[in-house]
Symmetry: C2
Subunit: 246 residues, 2 copies
Amino acid sequence: MERQGEHEIAEGSAPRGRSAKSGHRPPQRRVTTATVIYDELYEAIVNMHLAPGTPLQEKALTQQFGVSKTPVREALIRLSEDGLVDIFPQSGTFVSHVPLSAIPEAQVIRLALEDTAIKRTAEIATVADIAQLDAKLASQRMLADIGDMDAFHAADEAFHEAIALIAGYPSIWKLLRQVKVQINRARRLTLPVAGRMHQVIGEHEIIREAIARHDVEAAREAMQSHLNVVIPDLARLRVAHPDYFV
Amino acid sequence: MERQGEHEIAEGSAPRGRSAKSGHRPPQRRVTTATVIYDELYEAIVNMHLAPGTPLQEKALTQQFGVSKTPVREALIRLSEDGLVDIFPQSGTFVSHVPLSAIPEAQVIRLALEDTAIKRTAEIATVADIAQLDAKLASQRMLADIGDMDAFHAADEAFHEAIALIAGYPSIWKLLRQVKVQINRARRLTLPVAGRMHQVIGEHEIIREAIARHDVEAAREAMQSHLNVVIPDLARLRVAHPDYFV
DNA sequence: CGGTTTTGACATACTAGTATCTTAGTGTAT
DNA sequence: ATACACTAAGATACTAGTATGTCAAAACCG
């Protein structure tokens, strides 16, 4: 009972080229069919709805999305640059396995970048900024109660994103997103334990307080220990899902 | 007198899929036509052989490279993700302007990542590693004497890459490459002053010595001041090349 | 004559089909 | 029985052509 048209893109409903005219030289935001497919597959892979090793055939995807090969192909290429799919030329394309060996380095990078961001945020955050953090925290609390893991993790990301943006470092956030991808995939294999989620929220609250007090060192330490806790027990995961990793 | 076939890719000469069979699951290295075009355009843009604002038409590029639209298109998409070209949907594609406003943040990121790398390198570098650094330094000295700017900058990159790799942080180097792109473009507008090149080499030598002594703090400070010097005088560049920046 | 509308050339986004490479399976010879 | 060569199926990489949106210049109207 395969519902091939499940993800079908409504024909002509996507207003692609959103009037990029304006003044002089506006940075373009391409909203193409390829982008839609990329986003959908990205979410599915990061949320582990598509298991590592799953084959992704161009032909099958064109049918599922109801489009031609080119946009599918572009989406797969971008995903391969993110390390989320492996393309074997003229052979096959598969959802990538989580590279355990790369996770320690990703963690080191993450520490360095988040430290840079929170240092600055703790220095310059305004009351409006704090209010914004509180809003994210509130929504994260609600999602933890509901137990919606996908949304909870998205809110978690949003909190860290907000810190980077308050610091005035949007590029740092883009890099972090890129670096954390494999870590997040591993995290998604941990069971949704309510206690763990509230623990994460508690750590976020400590960070928020330190920022509000403009206590740079306290904020850094709170972030540091938060990040060191967040990393999942890789050895255990590996045993539980042996063929998800390499 | 336009030599359209200048960059033409020799037909069938590129061994694309390099036997990715082997044991079980080898990470693939795609050597496709699209990759070749990407690399060539990448170098041309970063070395400022293609000025910001230059239009890059798919059609013209297909003729220059003697290939079809798809590989050209893929190369342009990848370049746009690197921030090296701006694609205006259904309108046109151009070599991007150097975003002056993003350079300070890039510098901050660079400092954080290079600091992480050199810290570890200074701790664990072996005599073989030091020898490798010396080799890079020697070639950089030679290229400075010759005055080959492109090669000199490539060797400069290689020195920093070596430090990251000795630390065991290949991903950090990948990120640095990505982050430094716009900084490098700005640097390329500085005139090839021999004194400046030898100054850079001198700073590299100080770093090398600190690593060899396993003096972590000295190495970090040397790197720090090296990176702070390397940044070009943006205000002056902007005056000299007003329409290369945004 | 100034401002608005229209129109058409043009560039990218997409569709469709072909070519090439990989790889597993089969058969044969050693 | 094992190792090698051949064959054929299948998937991506590429070619070629169509569709669609953009932008600017010309035409039109007030």
